[in-house]
Symmetry: C2
Subunit: 241 residues, 2 copies
């Protein structure tokens, strides 16, 4: 049983879009592609080229004569559709659907997502085969996505449920954040050089300048490496005077 | 001052990708596009066609000779890059960055996102112009996104911060959920028809069947309309016997 949602393209018209969908799937770690009556050959040079090294997915893709056959072994099916449908069906946002899919696969079984053809999307009969609808929240004035873009967003939302990543981290390039002590000593060194210049500000103005410098170098979260660069730079300048 | 992040494509190579990026922007309600030294004409037929009715964004796009000029009026700049960079810089996931951008625009000023060219991405100098890096979490074995796909994901994450949507809703098609009373009465009606068939199960088996039916029709969250269809269907079948 597949541990990933299966991507099912129903009647895709353009080989490039099938290729780009395969690329988007691989970008997000999804590998199982099914095609229902594709109009063009999904193994054509155009498709392979558009897949940008994801041709493995195209070679492994299965082709079916009907949506019913393409979903036969699955337990739960979503229909990706932007248009309002006159059908009674739960409608999930892409991110919520991704979380549900992930839980479903862990707990129950296999699931798949149906995507319609470029020109008209899914037919009403195809939508009626789905347990639920996935809607990608988009600008209501321009909600028509390219097929591979729709595939990408849903695969991306699923991928996000599969990984644990810090929301933000500081890229350190082998160095470490400077301790407060080092930052304070550097600002004091800077201040001393300024004093040595002569004509340096007096009283309130001097204090204001000092506080500004202290704030600037505190706020930037300096690393050890950067503090060394700063010492080098200002020492160099001060020797020019 | 722009109330939206500005999308800045640095040295894009293919007009189609510029057009598809415009389409992705409009899908997500973003309208301000800037181009630094595009290789091909962003108003060519190829670009307009790929924009799929988002040509307004292409016509309004400004072209610059350098990244420095393209970001001159902005207050905060992100670099979208998949590769590890030897630079000390905060790295945000796309979703967290979108939330930060939204807060920044509300509170402080304008921001933009730099995207590099298709073949090599952003140069190190371009990255050094950015306050922070945006990373789209993707399959580490295949993390190279098409340019317009990268633009789409970041615009989509921003759009999600701008809207309030229920995570899931039931599409009702003008009808309403049936009350429990109607569901229970329908199951009882079904049971009565079964009893009238003769040869109907006895004792434990009968109760099991009843409970199964009750569960099936309770779990599906029937609407008024659907209950009427069910009455019609089973009454019709029972008259055939």
């Amino acid at each position: 049983m597949s541990q990933q949602p299966v991507i099912i393209l129903v009647g895709p018209q353009m080989a490039e879009n099938v290729g780009m969908s395969a690329r988007a799937m691989m970008n997000c770690g999804l590998y199982e592609l099914r095609l229902v009556n594709p109009r063009e050959d999904h193994l054509s040079a155009k498709a392979i080229s558009a897949s940008s090294n994801a041709e493995e997915i195209l070679y492994n893709a299965k082709v079916y004569a009907s949506t019913e056959e393409a979903i036969a072994d699955l337990n739960y099916v979503y229909a990706a559709t932007a248009r309002h449908r006159d059908q009674i069906k739960p409608v999930y946002n892409a991110d919520t659907a991704a979380v549900e899919m992930s839980k479903f696969i862990t707990g129950h079984g296999s699931c798949g997502i149906l995507f319609g053809c470029e020109r008209t999307g899914l037919s009403n009969v195809d939508v009626s085969l789905a347990n639920a609808i996935i809607n990608i929240p988009l600008n209501p004035k321009h909600s028509s996505l390219n097929l591979s873009q729709a595939v990408l967003i849903i695969c991306y939302e699923f991928y996000k449920t599969q990984i644990e990543k810090p929301e933000v981290h500081l890229e350190m390039n082998g160095t470490s954040l400077a301790s407060k002590d080092k930052v304070i000593k550097f600002v004091q060194h800077f201040e001393k050089l300024l004093e040595n210049c002569g004509n340096y500000k007096e009283g309130d103005k001097r204090e204001k300048m000092f506080i500004n410098l202290q704030n600037i170098f505190t706020r930037t979260q300096l690393t050890e490496q950067e503090i060394n660069s700063l010492y080098g730079a200002i020492n160099y300048i001060s020797r020019q005077n």
